[in-house]
């Protein structure tokens, strides 16, 4: 009996130490063209010197889940290692004709749409494998879209900690207050991934978010 208690005690201590050393799997979710890859690139460039993926003004540029392992982020005296998961934008509809506006050939547009649909399916599957999520929204768009509601609803249902980023605050149409009003329960950080504006506040919020991850484990 005593041996069992001692064994369980050491097992628990060892497990806790081991788990703390595990990289935090951080997913980037949101609608298409909100700037998920731009933000992931910004973080990767800040801490690894390399980018994660290509960005484009054409929606659904990211059509496969992209990873960056061992991203060591430092904030004040703390340091955490992340595995970044950049996911394709989640949409309820994908029309190849929307890509034709960007002067893409019909055949390529159809292929892009096909890959984008697979990307959405893959992105949703990955919800089971992330420790925390940064939901990236375009602050120039209406935040009350059903896709945003569905993403956040799923994260709540799965008890995954969420940080909301209102991206593109450098743009004239940006409305950060509207994003904050839509998500009063959540930490909403306004930033510009393109220009790196307000990244300091983002990292501060990210480290706050990781405390909730540890509680989950």
């Amino acid at each position: 009996m005593v041996i069992k208690i001692i064994r369980d005690f050491f097992k628990r201590i060892f497990t806790e130490i081991f788990e703390k050393k595990k990289d935090i799997v951080l997913g980037f979710y949101g609608p298409p063209n909100a700037g998920k890859t731009s933000l992931a690139n910004r973080i990767c460039k800040d801490w690894t010197g390399e980018e994660l993926g290509t960005v484009s003004r054409i929606p659904h540029e990211t059509r496969k889940v992209q990873f960056k392992e061992k991203v060591d982020i430092k904030y004040k005296e703390n340091s955490l290692v992340f595995k970044l998961i950049d996911t394709p934008g989640i949409a309820t509809k994908i029309d190849y004709e929307d890509f034709l506006k960007f002067k893409i050939k019909k055949r390529d547009a159809k292929q892009r749409a096909k890959e984008a649909t697979q990307g959405v399916i893959e992105a949703i599957k990955w919800l089971d494998d992330v420790d925390a999520v940064v939901v990236v929204l375009d602050s120039t768009q209406n935040p009350y879209s059903q896709v945003n509601i569905t993403i956040i609803g799923n994260l709540v249902a799965r008890k995954i900690p969420v940080l909301i980023v209102a991206n593109k605050i450098d743009m004239k149409k940006s409305d950060l207050k509207r994003c904050e009003a839509a998500f009063p329960e959540y930490d909403v950080v306004g930033l510009s991934a393109k220009y790196g504006t307000n990244m300091e506040e983002f990292y501060e919020s990210l480290f706050r978010l990781t405390k909730k991850v540890k509680k989950r484990k």
Binding site: T92, N142, T150, G153, A157, P184
Partner: protein
Amino acid sequence: MAKTKLILSFIPYADIAKLDSQKRIKKILDIILKGRIVILQGRLNPVEEASLIQSTMALVGRVKDFRGVELAVINPSEKEAFFEKIKTNLARVLIGQRDALTVIGPASVVKEIKRDPSKVELMFKK
């Protein structure tokens, strides 16, 4: 001038209450694939909504002229802080909310569903 028919199909909550998630989604998508707009009494839970999106994406490109869906949930008791409700009343969300209405239509018929805290606007394609 040619007239186009717009058919709305109402699904009472009782019709889906006893169905499992897969059957609920199938029932909704079967109607949508006929080019109709579904008005569902209640709402799917968030995980079902994600499954609906996955099933929809699997059909895009496989079913002729199907480009996906437009989806919106209207909850009369929700105003600007409807996310609060999701968090604080999760159990209720998970089993479905009868007082909500879910509007789901084929993207080729419904151009856009604009939603703000107090209203929902459906814009149809001509």
